[in-house]
């Protein structure tokens, strides 16, 4: 029974993975990748690790791939054409590496499997939510927290990169004379706020827009 399930989901995973690499339409590639994640999650369930399986589906299939699909849809990425292979010299090396990988797998299957495996203590509760939770917050607390700080840094970095420079490019020019802006233009963080902000001279407008010190051709003279 378990072997049957393993063959089914392993086959699905490999098929989806091949399809993911071979697809020319990026969205089909993304869908295949989702298929890989879900079949891997099913494999985790057969390996008695339901928590990892659920997290795999929630995080990879549910969150990360949604973002990928979202970006593909937003950018409307077209099908890529088949181009002649670049770096053709690397093909034999790739084949060699693949052969090594297969040899390794064969070695493990035929020679290592026979040796007695070291049983983990308390095999029954490994992979259950409670044991993972207590493990994360006791013996592996430091790595856990360090990882979360790493992720936090990535978030902060993305925010600063996205926010830098505000709404306008630095070399923007300002129309001379009296002008008025909506507050929304001056501060992109102020959600639909159409309050009028006035500037009597172009100098004032530049200060409002935050481009006063930018080197640019002034139209005042």
């Amino acid at each position: 029974m378990l072997a049957l399930l393993f063959i089914l989901f392993a086959g699905m995973a490999i098929g989806c993975a091949i399809s993911m690499v071979a697809q020319r339409n990026p969205l089909y590639g993304a869908i295949s990748l989702i298929g890989v994640f879900i079949s891997l999650a099913c494999l985790y369930v057969t390996l008695a690790a339901p928590f990892i399986a659920a997290v795999q589906v929630i995080v990879y299939a549910g969150a990360i791939m949604v973002l990928v699909v979202f970006v593909i849809m937003l950018l409307n990425v077209e099908e890529e054409e088949r181009r002649p292979l670049r770096l053709r010299a690397l093909v034999p090396i790739a084949i060699g590496l693949a052969a090594v990988l297969f040899a390794e797998a064969a070695f493990i299957i035929f020679f290592v499997q026979a040796s007695p495996s070291t049983p983990t203590r308390n095999i029954s509760d490994v992979g259950l939510t409670a044991s993972i939770g207590s493990g994360l917050f006791t013996s592996y607390l430091l790595p856990f927290e360090v990882t979360s700080i790493l992720l936090l840094m990535a978030v902060v970095g993305a925010m600063t990169l996205a926010r830098r420079g505000g709404l306008l490019p630095a070399n923007v020019g300002v129309v001379p004379g009296y002008q008025s802006f909506s507050r929304e233009v001056l501060n992109p963080m102020a959600t639909p706020d159409l309050t009028r902000v006035e500037a009597r001279t172009s100098r004032e407008a530049e200060e409002l827009l935050g481009v006063a010190d930018a080197p640019h051709v002034s139209l005042d003279e």
Binding site: L27, I31, I58, V66, F70, T129
Partner: protein
């Protein structure tokens, strides 16, 4: 032999759960149309059968016999895949909900728990499968080759990702309090006086309950968060180009989602099958469970008849700047109560003062 029996019982369980849910979903659609009619001062469908009772069957036949139109420049494969994903993901979560307590079946002489699959991470499973359901809508919008569909798909993915966060955070309070992800034991823990005083909603999670309720409405794309299919702006949103049975599948997915979200709310916050006299008469639990679910469904329909639609920026602000912080406050609050032992004290109080149900 025992294995085979187990598998047969499993399939029977799935079939029963599926049938119950599908029947109730079909009649939810009818109820929605009748109740909306009542709210809006008209009759609603009342011609097919007594009081419109056979309307769901007429609707189904109509969906089956309609012409199936596929847009010329749609992405064929994905166009067919999208409704399948939406419906499958919606239906997959049914198996983990406990419909009732342990019941002795006289026919095969066996005591069974009225839940198809009981496992350690049931709650996470629900969240995972629900998050996969987003693809149905997003891909439908993309593959239709229609700007309104695409807008609807984009909106819905943004909305569902944002509100999934608030939803998940709202559930953490319950998990903290009960210390398990297994839905059956969460329900078991909620039996108090008369099967009512132990409900999580009453005990310590009123805030979590409200956050969950609002986020759940957004997750199912219902009024007032129905921006993905806002008919005044987007024709019909992501399913503009879908007709006949494929449209019916989206329709089905939406209502099944409504149903499963209500079942989760009942299970986690309203004590599931707990109620007066359940311990004496376990079969009563099924009726309590379904009755509470129906209450939620009525609430949904009532909202649809009452509230206008949000604007998109309002939706996002509300989700990220109000619901998520509220859910975080709830987590801190629950953790503090748990740490100070307030829950244990309360549970002991409930246990020592025995009532009819406790």
């Amino acid at each position: 032999m025992e294995d085979l029996k187990h598998i047969v019982l499993l399939f029977v369980g799935i079939l029963v759960a599926f049938t119950v849910v599908m029947t109730m979903v079909a009649y939810t659609v009818l109820a929605e149309r009748r109740i909306l009619g009542f709210i809006q001062g008209r009759l609603g469908p009342n011609r097919v059968g007594p009081g419109g009772f056979l309307q769901p069957i007429a609707d189904l036949l109509k969906f089956i016999f309609k012409e199936d139109i596929v847009p010329d420049k749609s992405t064929r494969f994905v166009y067919f895949l999208a409704p399948t994903i939406a419906t499958t993901a919606a239906l997959m979560t049914i198996v983990v909900y406990p419909f009732g307590p342990e019941i002795h079946l006289p026919l095969i002489d066996k005591t069974i728990q009225l839940v198809v699959a009981r496992f350690d991470v049931a709650l996470l499973y629900v969240l995972g499968v629900t998050s996969v359901g987003v693809y149905g809508i997003a891909l439908a919008g993309w593959s239709s080759n229609n700007k309104y569909s695409l807008m609807g798909g984009l909106r819905s993915s943004a909305q569902m990702i944002s509100y999934e966060l608030a939803l998940g955070l709202a559930l953490i309070g319950v998990i903290l309090q009960s210390g398990t992800l297994d839905l059956y034991s969460i329900v078991e823990q909620q039996s108090g006086h008369l099967g009512i005083s132990g409900w999580n909603m009453i005990l310590a999670q009123p805030l979590g309950f409200i956050v969950y309720l609002i986020a759940a409405i957004a997750e199912t794309n219902r009024v007032p968060f129905d921006l993905p299919e806002a008919e005044t702006e987007l024709v019909a949103g992501f399913h503009t180009e879908y007709s006949a049975m494929k449209f019916a599948l989206f329709f089905l997915a939406e209502y099944v989602n409504m149903f499963t979200v209500s079942m989760l709310a009942t299970t986690l916050f309203l004590g599931g099958w707990n109620g007066p006299f359940v311990h004496q008469l376990p079969a009563l639990g099924v009726f309590y469970f379904l009755g509470k679910v129906v209450l939620f469904l009525f609430f949904y329909i009532w909202l649809r008849g009452t509230l206008p639609r949000f604007r998109f920026d309002q939706l996002m602000n509300f989700g990220w700047k109000f619901l998520v912080p509220l859910a975080l406050i709830n987590i801190v609050f629950t953790a503090t109560l748990q740490w100070s032992g307030a829950f244990d004290f309360f549970a002991k109080f409930l246990k020592t003062s025995t009532g009819w149900g406790g």
